[in-house]
């Protein structure tokens, strides 16, 4: 066990969780696609740091493995795939969105409040050092979900999905020191394959539609 008092430890973890939340807001406020991907990589780095701190403070060693995988897959591999997709597609900015940026930021603020409201009955029941992060985790999941709805470009929608997965990983680490290792490995595998599939998909979409603006995907109607 570390020499830091539990109180200071949980404050440190909360600080990291708040930094994660801030990157979420930054992604919502960004128009440039490559900047969104960079912010996602930054967020994943903070996530890995949070996990590493939790592992250090509690002595549960398999969280280190999850933190390492986060760095490898979410900070390097997937952002590289997405950057390649952006290069190939030749789009750099997202000018038209379903929900504009100021309104989007306000909605994200409301989502954070909603997340805290929903998890309110659960928080006092936790006894682990990172229980407040569960609310932030749900907030990140909801903001990621909102990003997928509010944006039109396929790449940003994928970033929204990845943000949701980050929120879930934070939730798992916050709630219970990470899920069983085999589950964590499985989740990483799924996320990686999903990233690859989106890479291939945008290629096909580009060929078929000459754009990856998903608002062009309205051929199929009732």
């Amino acid at each position: 066990m570390s020499s830091m008092s539990p109180h200071a430890g949980s404050q440190l973890v909360d600080l990291c969780a708040v930094l994660l939340l801030l990157t979420c807001f930054a992604i919502v406020a960004q128009r440039r696609l490559s900047a969104c991907v960079d912010l996602f990589a930054l967020q994943s780095f903070f996530l890995a740091a949070t996990a590493a701190i939790v592992a250090f403070l509690t002595g549960v060693h398999h969280i280190y493995i999850a933190a390492a995988l986060t760095i490898v897959i979410k900070v390097f591999v997937i952002p590289r795939i997405l950057k390649k997709v952006i290069e190939r597609l030749n789009v750099s900015r997202e000018l038209v969105m379903n929900v504009n940026i100021p309104a989007g930021l306000l909605i994200c603020g409301a989502l954070v409040i909603i997340a805290f409201f929903i998890t309110q009955p659960i928080i006092p029941l936790g006894y682990l050092l990172t229980r407040d992060s569960l609310s932030i985790a749900l907030a990140i999941v909801l903001i990621g979900f909102f990003t997928m709805i509010a944006r039109k470009k396929a790449v940003t929608q994928m970033v929204g999905f990845l943000v949701m997965e980050n929120g879930l990983f934070l939730g798992a680490t916050a709630a219970a020191y990470g899920m069983p290792l085999i589950v964590e490995l499985g989740v990483f595998f799924d996320v990686l394959v999903a990233g690859l599939i989106v890479g291939i998909y945008t290629h096909r979409l580009q060929d078929a539609f000459d754009s990856v603006d998903t608002s062009a995907l309205t051929v199929l109607k009732e």
Partner: protein, 511 residues
């Protein structure tokens, strides 16, 4: 032990082999023998479970009880008929030049990975591993749906990928919450998500957390089942996918997703009063049933028609599981089997119809009885089965569900409207009223469905050029077998199946 290894290794090896093999006949043989192996393994497992009880294997990674064995049976049976149907269907698509011959290997690779993921989701002990497998099915089937690479297929596949992944991510949050509550009781053990451990401590888990967890899991996995309002990916995905893929998605994958919801329900019912999950299931089920019935009325594309019928039937199954009790649960489980059979049959006929008429519009198809008699009979059987007509087996499962709904004890309700008016709804009115409403929607669906099927079957086919009469293919063997099953199960339930169903009901009701 050996059957479980076969269940997991079989599709895996078959998938890898499919990647390297080019000859289509060999690919089909591998596929068919994998399915046969699955059927054999499931039979062996069932006999063992019926005599010795649930099986825990591979160091508590695998848990198979009567409920899992029943779902495996559905996977294996529909998969077997699908592999026969694919024999002729895929060869025809290659012969017509719709897909390049070397893409057939990719198709079979994805198909076997899809199978592996479904089997893994059914026999996994840990809820987390089950989640990973279900997300795996989404990833494997995305490209299967978009296989024809038309613009509409790509659009359908993309929507499917995004919506199902989002839904499943919400389900993961529910699982995280479940883990959160179980770790409190069991300590930080890697087995804290295992169903075998959770069942033992279910009554000590925190009710608030489980409430929230179940809502997230229901919404999340409900997206894959196709419950309204999370169903928007479904009609397009099923109409764009190749016929055998649509059959597997509609018949089997939805069933596996229902199974995942059931596992959570079993857990939650121990910690919370059973009305909580029951009300949610009946609510979603009813809304899905009603909305699907209305959409069936306005369909002009027969594959979308079958897609909405899937939503409707899954809604009915949810109602059955929500009502609970032996009759409701038995009816709902039996309905999963019947729906899988009927829906797979429907999509196989859709594939045959498309082959002949080259359109998915209902108005473009006329005179099927003269052009393709066997397919026409199969379509009539599938249609009558899907609307719940006797003597086909869905009639009996729907009868069980509806009668358990009617027998349900609703408390009588009193509404105070204003100071002088008090309305009391007696319990009989509530239960019979609910049934009457359900029957109304069923009638609406019946009307829309039969009208469209009749329009396709009767009449005179438009003669264009040289028209070949319907030739016998391996696919027709599937059609006949499934028709026989639908009629046969309506008359007699084979003894081993009945035993398996009874055991499965006991598992769901946790008695």
């Amino acid at each position: 032990m050996l059957p479980i290894i076969i269940l997991l290794i079989g599709p895996f090896i078959a998938g890898l082999l499919s990647l390297v093999i080019r000859r289509s006949r060999l690919l089909h043989v591998i596929n068919f023998s994998t399915m046969l192996a699955l059927v054999g393994a499931d039979t062996a497992l069932t006999t063992q479970i019926l005599s010795h009880g649930p099986i825990i294997a591979l160091g508590a990674l695998v848990y198979v009880d009567a409920l899992s064995a029943f779902i495996l049976f559905i996977i294996a049976a529909i998969g077997l008929s699908c592999s026969l149907y694919m024999w002729s269907y895929m060869d025809e698509q290659v012969a017509r030049g719709v897909i390049a011959p070397k893409r057939l290997s990719v198709f079979f690779f994805l198909f076997h990975m899809f199978l592996l993921a479904m089997v893994a989701a059914t026999i996994a002990n840990s809820l987390g591993v089950q989640w990973v497998a279900l997300e795996g099915t989404t990833l494997a089937t995305t490209f299967l749906i978009a296989f024809f690479r038309r613009r509409e297929s790509l659009e359908a596949g993309w929507k499917y990928l995004i919506l199902c992944s989002v839904g499943i991510a919400l389900a993961l949050f529910g699982i995280v919450l479940t883990y959160y509550s179980s770790v409190r009781v069991l300590g930080d053990v890697s087995a804290a998500l295992n169903m075998t451990s959770l069942i033992g401590v279910a009554d000590r888990l925190d009710p608030h957390v489980l409430k929230l967890a179940f809502i997230f899991i229901l919404i999340g996995y409900g997206t894959k089942v196709g419950l309204v309002p999370m169903h928007t990916w479904l009609p397009e995905a099923y109409s764009e996918a190749p016929a055998p893929v649509a059959a597997m998605l509609a018949g089997v994958l939805e069933t596996v997703a229902v199974y995942a919801i059931l596992r959570s329900k079993i857990l939650v019912d121990q910690a919370l009063p059973p009305e909580f999950s029951a009300n949610l299931l009946v609510l979603f089920g009813f809304i899905s049933f009603a909305v699907a019935a209305f959409f069936i009325l306005i369909q002009h594309n027969y594959k979308r028609l079958f897609a909405y019928s899937s939503i409707e039937h899954m809604g009915l199954a949810m109602i059955g599981f929500g009502i609970g009790g032996v009759a409701g649960t038995f009816g709902a489980l039996f309905h999963l089997l019947n729906h899988a059979l009927a829906k797979a049959l429907a999509f196989f006929t859709a594939g045959n119809i498309h082959r002949r008429f080259n359109t998915v519009e209902i108005d473009g198809v006329k005179g099927l009885a003269k052009a393709q008699p066997v397919t026409a009979v199969a379509l009539m059987v599938a249609g009558c089965a899907l609307v719940g007509l006797p003597p086909f087996s869905p009639f009996f499962s729907e009868l069980l569900i509806v009668s358990s709904l009617a027998a349900q004890d609703f408390a009588s309700d009193t509404i105070h409207a204003g100071r002088f008016i008090t309305v009391t709804i007696s319990d009989e009115v509530r239960s019979l009223g609910t049934v009457a409403l359900l029957m109304l929607f069923a009638l609406i669906a019946f009307g829309g469905f039969m009208y469209r099927i009749g329009a396709m079957v009767w009449g005179e086919p438009a003669e264009e050029g040289s028209v070949q009469p319907e030739r016998w293919t391996p696919g027709h063997v599937s059609l006949i077998a499934m028709m026989a099953a639908l009629i046969g199960l309506g008359f007699v339930l084979p003894e081993p199946l009945k035993l398996l169903l009874n055991q499965a009901v006991k598992v769901v009701l946790a008695r």
